[in-house]
């Protein structure tokens, strides 16, 4: 009885959080999070069937502009669906100058906007820059048709988005 009472009393005196181990943990988490800190947000379009290929490129995307996403079943311009990817697949492969008409229309509008901005003085010159995110399992055939369409609409400065390899 008296021993139990003494035990209870001792417990009460020791109560109070042992913060040291928690601090260790927090410090590790803090270092890890600072390592993966990035000031500019992600430019990714989120889609189940849009997996970017891995590459050793370290070049950072500039804070632009227009982004085109090509998934297995849709082509999206600035996250707005434009046309099914099958439209591109259905253009005959022998076609020397393949153009995806619906995509071209949208790109022309975007180009006109860029020209308008240059005229108003918001931009120095027409950059024609576009970031293209292509699913890694897309055929070269589709890629070529999209590149051709972009080029013909005045977007000559193409950048392919890729995932940086770890390490």
């Amino acid at each position: 009885m008296s021993a139990g009472r003494a035990g209870k009393f001792a417990k009460k005196r020791d109560a109070g959080l042992n913060i040291t181990s928690m601090m260790d943990m927090f410090t590790i988490i803090l270092v890890f999070l600072i390592k993966s800190y990035s000031a500019d947000g992600s430019i990714l379009t989120n889609a189940d069937d849009l997996v970017l290929p891995n590459s050793e490129s370290k070049k950072k995307p500039s804070d632009v502009n227009l982004q085109l996403a090509v998934t297995q079943d849709m082509i999206l311009l600035d996250n707005v669906a434009v046309t099914p990817t099958d439209d591109a697949r259905n253009i005959p492969q022998e076609e020397p100058d393949p153009i995806i008409t619906k995509l071209e229309e949208r790109l022309k509008v975007a180009m006109a906007m860029e020209e308008e901005m240059v005229r108003m003085g918001a931009l120095n010159a027409v950059q024609g820059q576009i970031i293209v995110q292509v699913d890694k399992n897309i055929d070269f055939d589709v890629l070529f048709k999209i590149m051709n369409t972009c080029g013909k609409s005045g977007f000559n400065n193409m950048n392919f988005a890729v995932m940086e390899r770890d390490g």
């Binding site: 992600s42 490129s57 070049k59 590149m147 013909k152």
Partner: protein
């Protein structure tokens, strides 16, 4: 009296971490929100239109330009990777294609791919999907018997070449070899067991050949340019890997072309 003296000392022993904890509680959510776990990078390329006019002018100007222009082209089809320059071609690299599939339930297999073949099966009976394909490996084969060529690699997976820039198949003590980094790293073999025999990757061999071309034609007018020509069925991932090899071998101006017929 003695008691009074003791107590302040006891309190000074423990640091007051509460304010630091408050700081952590604020900092961690903030950093967590702006953390970036998958880093996105970009690859610059030139458009085929530009390349079209380039080749056109190159064709018309060919007589006087022939000595200076390299016109380096990397060609990829469904079974061959090769390099061409100045109208000639290097020996083709025949490859066999292996796909590595990883699924959510922990399956990790390497399957040989045959053009036009069906998707491989999961052990539980369903077909694997195209999005479970994790990576594509191209292994160089002997053109006659289609056996995969093996060569020596470092522990980090870097391919080894000899002084002529050819892959090394056997090592002995005292050999001087070069690891495939840019610039190449010289290694004197002290223990042949330090190196592993692995399948020779077509991407590595292509990079090796591109570095040799770069060394030889550093003064060419278009020494930074490369054209990647691909067949219609080639998967985008392979093109990106070839672009990586090209940039690694200091050919940053990449244009893309279509291989016809």
């Amino acid at each position: 009296m003695g008691n009074k003296l003791k107590r302040p000392r006891m309190e000074a022993d423990e640091m007051d971490l509460k304010c630091f904890m408050n700081l952590m509680v604020v900092l961690i959510p903030m950093l967590l929100m702006s953390a970036e776990f998958a880093k996105v990078a970009i690859i610059d390329i030139r458009l085929p239109e530009e390349r079209g006019s380039q080749t056109k002018s190159a064709v018309t100007d060919q007589p006087q330009d022939k000595s200076e222009k390299l016109l380096l082209t990397a060609i990829i089809t469904d079974s061959v990777v090769t390099l061409g320059a100045k109208g000639g071609f290097m020996p083709s690299l025949f490859y066999r294609e292996f796909h590595r599939y990883r699924t959510r339930d922990g399956l990790d297999t390497l399957v040989e791919y045959e053009p036009g073949g069906a998707m491989p099966r999961h052990p539980n009976g369903r077909d694997l999907t195209i999005h479970e394909r994790h990576e594509i490996y191209l292994y160089v084969v002997n053109p006659e018997d289609r056996n995969i060529i093996r060569s020596k690699h470092t522990r980090f997976g870097e391919m080894l070449t000899n002084a002529d820039g050819n892959p090394v198949e056997a090592l002995s003590v005292g050999d001087t070899v070069f690891a495939l980094t840019n610039p190449r790293r010289m290694i004197v073999v002290s223990n042949p067991d330090d190196f592993e025999s692995r399948q020779l990757s077509a991407y590595d061999e292509l990079r090796n050949r591109l570095m040799k071309v770069k060394d030889r034609y550093r003064d060419a007018e278009d020494a930074d340019d490369i054209i990647i020509a691909a067949e219609n069925e080639v998967i985008y991932d392979k093109i990106v890997q070839i672009m990586d090899a090209a940039r690694n071998a200091e050919f940053p101006n990449i244009s893309i072309a279509k291989l016809r017929g």
